[in-house]
Symmetry: C2
Subunit: 341 residues, 2 copies
C-alpha cells in the first residue's frame, strides 16, 4: 500500500501518543488512557483498523455521555484460588485486564485453571490484545464478552445478542503466540460502520433492516439487526457467550446493556470472562513434547494451499507496521486532532 | 410418525436392554456396557438417531478390532484442587465420565471452576448426555473432544480435524437444563453415514471428494474430506478444540488418532476436556436473581417466530419417546439382534 491523499502514514509511537493525548483531552485518567492507547496501537500494528484509532471516538463518546467513568480505578478481588474478580468501576477493559492479569496468571499457575471475571466494564477494545500476554506467560486462554443487542438469532429478526466475540490464545515455543478473536456475528460491527463511513454497500448475509428484510445498506443494517455467523451453531455460541460473560458472573446481557445505554451509542457496559489454563499443570515434565505436537498440527494446516492460520495476516502486518508505520484515513485523523487540540 | 414396515417401535427400556446385551455379547464389561447403554438410550429418547443404537456397531467394531479395551476400569486422579484427570485405559467415554463426575462436581463447587481431562479414551457417544448431569448439579459446563481426521480447514482440502464437537450446558431453575452439542464440521459424520445407509445424496457444502472437489455423494465425501461449519471461524474453533482436548492434556490430535486406528474404522481414541463452573461461587446470595435474568434472555429468543432454542427439539422428542417409545430401522435392529444372539 502507498499512501494517498486521503490517508496519512504514522509511526506506531505517534499512534500511541495521539491516542493517549486524545483520551487525556477527553478527561480520561492517565492510567486508563495509557492502557487504551496500548490496545489501540496494537490493533493498528496488526492492521486491525476496526479496533484501531477509529475506536477512540467511542471512548470519547462514552465519557462525554456521562455514563462511563474515564477515571475509574479497577479493584481486583480473589473469590477463590481459581476465581479473580475485577470491578472495573464503569471504566474500560484494557486497564481492568492489565491490573488483574498478574493475579490471573498466578492463580492459573497455582491450580492449573483460573477464571477472570471482569464486571461493570465498558468494552471497546480488541480482546486478543489481552490474551497475548497470557500466552507469553505460557498460558492457554479463552476470552468472551457480550455487547449491546444488535444481532438476531438465526431464523429470527429481533436483535438479542451483541457481536459477542470469542477469543483464544495458545503459546508457541518459537515466535508469536497463536491467537484468534472473532465476532459471533457474520462480521464485526466495526466492519459495517467502516463500510458506512466509506460509503460502501455491505454483502447480503451480514444484516437485516428494521423490518427483518435482508439489506446491503450499512445504515439500514446498523438500525436493524446483524446476523450471526454459521447459522444455528453461531447462534448457540453467541447465546453461550451471553450467559457466561453475563448472568453467570452477575453482569448484564446485551439487551440489558442496550437499555442501560439509553440510546447514547456508547460502547457496551457489561462483563468479560477469561479462562486461563496452565498446560504445565496438566503435562508436567512432558510439557515441551506435547506443545511440539501442537506445532505439527499447526504446520499441517498452514502448509495447505489456500489456507491461512488465524492471526497469520495480523502477524505479517505487525512486522511491516513496525518498519513502515501505518496508514490512517486523513478524515479520521482530522477528527482526532480536533479533539486533542 | 407412524411405524412402517422398515421400522419397529421399541420402548426406551427395551432399547437400553438391547444395547446392554449387544455390548455384553461383544465382550464388553457390565460397567462399560451399562454406561454406554444409558448414553445410547438417552440419544434415542431425544430423537438423536446418529448417536443412538446405530452407534453400537462402532463400539462392537472398536473392541473386535483389538484396539479398544471393552473391560477397562477408568482411574480418577486429582492433579490439583481444580483439575481431575481420568485415564480411561482405552475404554469408552461414558464410564470415564460417570466415574469422574462426582470429583469434578466437588472440585467445581470447592473452587468455582474445575477441569476434567479424560485421557486414553474411545469416543463414540453424545457429549451432551454427559453435560446434563452437571447442569442438574447446578453447574455450567463446556465439553470438547477431537476425533479422527476427516475435516479440512476452510479453503483447504486435506483433512486435519475430527468433527470436533462443542457442547455447553446451563442449569435452568424449572425443567430440563439448556444443553447444546454441535459438530464443528458442517454436519456430524453420523449424518453423512446415515445418508449413505439410506442411499441418499448429501447437500453441497458438507464434503469434498478425495481430489478436493465438492461432492453430493456420501461415500465420496466420507473418503475425502468433510467441511467445517462457518468458514474460517468454524475452522478456528475446530483447531482450538484439537489443542485443548489434545496436546494441552497430553492426548492425541485427530491426525494422530487416525494413524493410531490403522484403518480399522474404529471410533476415535483421544482426549476429552470438560470445564465446569459453579455460578454460586461467582454470585453468592444473588445466584437465583442472576439465573432468573438468564431466563429472560432465553424467552427473548424462543418467543421469536422461526427461532428455536438449541435442544428444544430434543426435549420435545424426550416427552414423546417416554410415552410412545422410539422407532428403529428394522435393518439395523436385525444387525443388532444378530450380535446379541
Amino acid at each position: 500500500m502507498t499512501p494517498n491523499q486521503e490517508e496519512q502514514r504514522l509511526t506506531l509511537s505517534s499512534i500511541e501518543s495521539l491516542a493517549r493525548d486524545v483520551l487525556l483531552a477527553s478527561g480520561i485518567s492517565l492510567a486508563q488512557a495509557d492502557a487504551i492507547a496500548r490496545n489501540v496501537t496494537a490493533a493498528e500494528a496488526d492492521a486491525c483498523r476496526s479496533h484501531g484509532v477509529y475506536r477512540l471516538l467511542g471512548y470519547v463518546r462514552a465519557v462525554a455521555g456521562g455514563k462511563a467513568d474515564g477515571r475509574a480505578v479497577p479493584t481486583v478481588t480473589p473469590l477463590s484460588p481459581a476465581i479473580i474478580r475485577v470491578d472495573a468501576g464503569r471504566g474500560f477493559a484494557p486497564l481492568a485486564n492489565e491490573m488483574a492479569r498478574p493475579s490471573l496468571i498466578a492463580a492459573a499457575q497455582a491450580v492449573g485453571v483460573a477464571v477472570l471475571a471482569i464486571n461493570n466494564c465498558y468494552h471497546n477494545s480488541a480482546m486478543w490484545v489481552d490474551l497475548e500476554p497470557l500466552a507469553e506467560a505460557g498460558l492457554v486462554s479463552i476470552g468472551l464478552t457480550a455487547g449491546q443487542r444488535s444481532v438476531a438469532p438465526h431464523g429470527g429478526s429481533m436483535p438479542v445478542f451483541g457481536t459477542n466475540p470469542f477469543a483464544f490464545g495458545w503459546p508457541r515455543p518459537d515466535g508469536a503466540p497463536f491467537v484468534f478473536d472473532f465476532a459471533t456475528s457474520a462480521v464485526a460491527r466495526g466492519e459495517i460502520e467502516l463500510h458506512q463511513r466509506g460509503g460502501k454497500s455491505i454483502p447480503l448475509g451480514w444484516a437485516l433492516d428494521a423490518e427483518g428484510r435482508p439489506t446491503t445498506d450499512p445504515a439500514l443494517g446498523l438500525a436493524g439487526a446483524m446476523l450471526p455467523f454459521g447459522g444455528h451453531k453461531g447462534t448457540a455460541l453467541a447465546l453461550m457467550i451471553e450467559l457466561l460473560a453475563g448472568p453467570m458472573i452477575g453482569d448484564l446481557t446485551s439487551q440489558e446493556s442496550f437499555v442501560e445505554d439509553e440510546g447514547r451509542g456508547s460502547p457496551p457496559l457489561g462483563g468479560e470472562l477469561i479462562i486461563a489454563f496452565d498446560p504445565a499443570r496438566f503435562l508436567g515434565d512432558e510439557t515441551a513434547d506435547h506443545m511440539a505436537r501442537a506445532e505439527t498440527l499447526f504446520s499441517s494446516i498452514s502448509r495447505q494451499d489456500g489456507v491461512r492460520l488465524p492471526g497469520d495476516r495480523r502477524l505479517a502486518a505487525r512486522v511491516q507496521s513496525a518498519r513502515e508505520g501505518v496508514l490512517v484515513p486523513s478524515r479520521l485523523l482530522d477528527e482526532l486532532e480536533a479533539i486533542r487540540a
